[in-house]
């Protein structure tokens, strides 16, 4: 636990989460969600949970992003609301 780094990373994760929810373009939301998972993985590592961080990096940052991009490619890209 390193407190200053902790607060900075939590702030980044918060910014990414809010941006991913509020954005209209789905592809941009997927890209920002990729950044969210990268920063989340950094947060896990910083809390010395390396195995969790490895799982987060491998599952959410690569395969998750790829599968979500595939879903956006096969459906509509703009959300209607």
């Amino acid at each position: 636990m390193i407190l200053p780094l902790d607060f900075i990373l939590i702030l980044f994760v918060f910014i990414c989460a809010v941006a991913a929810i509020t954005i209209k373009d789905l592809l941009s939301a997927v890209v920002i969600l990729g950044a969210y998972s990268f920063l989340m993985c950094l947060l896990w590592t910083e809390m010395a949970a390396i195995d969790v961080a490895f799982t987060e990096a491998s599952v959410s940052a690569s395969i998750g992003t790829v599968l979500m991009i595939g879903c956006v490619a096969k459906t509509k890209r703009r959300s209607k609301d």
């Binding site: 390396i50 599952v59 690569s62 395969i63 790829v66 599968l67 595939g70 490619a73 096969k74």
Partner: protein
């Protein structure tokens, strides 16, 4: 998106990168008890290597190495390895996945047998995860493409 890419840079770089990626994934699987990682993470990285091959070299090149049918068979084999080791421990008189009992079969002490059993379970988990991830990727990305193949099969 399944089609062959015409870009020289992506094609050559992924050609050079994919074998090292697969060997790295196998390293993560095999050294699961020394360093972070294990069956699940290694399987996902293995599937990511095949995904990179599909995206850069097209589906036909990938089918020569891992076809859809082989992926289905591999997922079943992975689950079979995992459950088989657990049931073997059960037959030998222990609990489910009680690896120490494997020392009755293998000519080693129980601590070593425990390590070997964990390795076998991790290999099974990695095979199942890799095959299922690859199949999900193909199912999502090939919707609406390759209709002529389906017709020729019927």
């Amino acid at each position: 998106m399944i089609r062959d890419s015409q870009d020289v840079i992506v094609k050559t770089l992924s050609r050079l990168l994919v074998p090292f990626m697969v060997i790295y994934a196998l390293y993560v699987i095999m050294h699961g008890h020394h360093s972070p990682g294990g069956g699940f993470q290694g399987g996902v990285i293995l599937a990511a290597g095949f995904v990179l091959l599909v995206v850069s070299h097209g589906l036909e090149q990938t089918r020569k190495r891992l076809s859809e049918k082989a992926a289905g068979v591999l997922s079943s084999i992975g689950v079979f390895i995992y459950a088989g080791i657990g049931a073997l421990c059960l037959i030998l008189g222990g609990n489910y996945l009680d690896y120490g009992k494997l020392s009755k079969l293998l000519p080693v002490v129980p601590a070593e047998a425990r390590s070997l059993g964990i390795l076998g379970v991790e290999i099974g988990v990695a095979l199942a995860v890799m095959a299922v991830m690859f199949t999900i990727f193909l199912v999502i990305f090939t919707v609406g493409e390759f209709q002529e193949d389906d017709r020729s099969e019927k």
